[in-house]
Amino acid sequence: MELYELGIKAAQDGLAKGEFTSTDLVESLIRRYREKNGEIGAYLTFDEEQALALAKANPKSVPIAIKDLINVAGQPCTCASRILQGYVSPYDATVIRNLKANGFIPCGRCNMDEFAMGSSTENSALGVTRNPFDPGRVPGGSSGGSAAAVGADMCIAALGSDTGGSIRQPASFCNCVGVKPSYGRVSRYGVTAFASSLDQVGPMTKSVDDAAILLKALAGRDEMDGTTPDVPVPDYPSAIADADMKGLKIGLPKEYFEVSGMDAEVKRITDEAVRKCEAAGAELVEVSLPHTGYAMAVYYIIAPAEASANLARFDGVRYGHRSAASRDVTSLYLKSRAEGFGPEVKRRIIMGTYVLSSGYYDAYYGRAQKVRTLIKRDFDEAFAKVDVMLTPCAPTPAFKFAELQDPLTMYLNDLFTIPSSLAGVCAASVPAGFTRETKLPVGVQFIAGGYEETTLLKACKAFERIMA
């Protein structure tokens, strides 16, 4: 067995027993990177020298691959955008400081959809990432590079970020565990903002135990991010050790099982997952989330609105691309942004500016925030009856490159992950099987209430056990 195949737990055990060092791990990953990255393209950059230096300085640490929107001092942070090509981070994000304080080192920058806007990583301006299970298909997105790195054993584990499904959907497409923590559970200081009322950083791993270990390291109050509450972080790994399906109350939101256009194999795998949970002693409860049908519309108002404000900082003044063609300050803004941003980012900035503009704010953004309250209430009511919910994660397995051409069709790929993001609760994708003909991985989604990560991870671990 090669060291790059290890997950976090196995790597930590081996390090503790002195079987190998961080340098051995990093050397193995470098070999794997050289062998595979040309084909998979999981990484935009992997600074071998820096990774080896970090490993030498931290001989008991586990390397973690980082989505290219999280700042690590001295490393690039491009957000897969031309506007940030050449940018070098002057500081560490809080999640990186937390990793370093807990025996991890950041190694490698994973590809993504530009500024995390997309569901296939095809919106990266800087590289193509292929699905490790079929190079003709996308890895999902926006954390597609992180998911492909985990799925292709090109890392021990990775960090992704999720605004409307960007950890969970690629995790489903690439056969990994992906956890979107509750809103505010993990600090966003130093993480390039997309939609600030939704963004969360989370683990993408080879097992549920690994996700628990990594989340424990990431989570907690940060005085640099005012949205992180002072809620104690449980010791997730030990809290989930005795996870059991028996007696777990699993809600099946009926709206998620009545969707038209769901792939037949995804439906089969999800139905089978439900049956296996029941056979293992879970209690199935049908629940209803009646405002599910509005979630996509709410999201595609709120997320672009917040993005348009957040991305105003890219103006060619203090960092990032500055157009050589600009003559005055207005044309400097207009041209630097025109040259620097890709089409999907431009569309969302325009959409967001429109819904926030004078005369339209109440009808769009204001109204969307009220409908969001209704969606949140749906979840509160459902979680009064059940411990977790089980749903499909994405309506299809990994699709082919250029298969979804129309932006709106691409957006609909996130219909199962967006409502829980709007509600601010936690959710995860766990591998549930493979399609029969195409042999593509499919994950199912577990959802738990806000700050109920222990309950969520317990359900995921119990599920992982019965699927083993």
Binding site: G320, H321, Y364, K370
Partner: protein
Amino acid sequence: MAGNKIDVAYVANLARLELTPEEQTLFQGQLEDIVKYVEKISEADIAGVAPMMHGRPLVNAFREDVVRPSMDREAALGNAPARVGDEFLLPKIVEGAES
């Protein structure tokens, strides 16, 4: 809100994005579809419903008002597209002023 028509050229200028004529035509059609799609929210009954501003109810988060080290000046200027000394260099902003 039904029937509102997005004027992509106008909004792009508000967002300080210069579009090519091709982009303008493409985005106009695509964004009309997206705007039409999101207008679905007008069907929801929101009478008496409070807006949800964030992923979690927020209270003011204060920290001690004490001076502490901030980012080193060179580090902050390290990614500047253009600089003079310790400042970011920009085209002239105030009309009539010397550049």
